[in-house]
Amino acid sequence: MVYLCNSIAAASALVTVEVIDADSFPDLVARYQVGAVPKVVINETTVVLDVVPAADVIARIAAS
């Protein structure tokens, strides 16, 4: 999932990615209610859990 999102960010000048080690930032884990990883939060709202195809992730980014 990380490499997929990083690939999207490298291909689109509109997308940035922050990969966050959950163990290092418990405050963010609490704020974003991270119960399992990987968890992707798009624009603070849309959430993608688990591994999904690239087209689905791109569609969710486009719709967010």
């Binding site: 999102c5 080690d21 930032f25 968890k39 992707v40 798009i42």
Partner: protein
């Protein structure tokens, strides 16, 4: 003592030999940050394995304007970009080690070569027409 074992160091060097364009790693730290030095050390060990990698270390407060430009507000954060390119698409908050080290190396290659995951290219991302910030939570350990 190095963070990377001899075996991982050798394999990392083989992977990074495929780099083409230079990539800059900018590590933002703060003096009171206990985990920052490990990220600086790891990035330094990786940078030493390729002449196409450069590591700079910055202080989040002393270099606040650059941190703000890159959207960095926490430490340790490692920002990755192709050298000479202001666009910095990927940031790592925390140590990119353990399970995440492989994806970290592949991301360095991606930024260097422009070749990412198959099928993820300019045409594929064309539906994205507004700025988007993605936060991905992982467990490196």
């Amino acid at each position: 003592m190095p963070l990377l074992s001899e075996k991982v160091t050798a394999e990392t060097g083989r992977i990074l030999a495929e780099m083409r364009e230079p990539v800059r790693m900018t590590c933002f730290t703060q003096p009171e940050c206990h985990s920052c030095q490990r990220v600086v050390d790891l990035a330094g060990e990786v940078a030493a394995l390729s002449p196409r990698l450069r590591l700079e270390v910055k202080d989040l407060l002393a270099d606040a304007p650059e941190a703000a430009r890159l959207g960095i507000s926490r430490v340790p954060t490692l920002a990755l970009a192709r050298e000479g390119n202001a666009w910095t698409p990927v940031r790592y908050a925390g140590l990119p080690a353990g399970h995440e080290f492989g994806a970290f190396l592949r991301t360095l290659l991606l930024l260097s070569t422009g070749r990412g995951m198959p099928g993820v290219d300019a045409a594929a991302v064309a539906p994205i027409t507004r700025p988007a910030d993605l936060k991905i939570f992982v467990l490196a350990a």
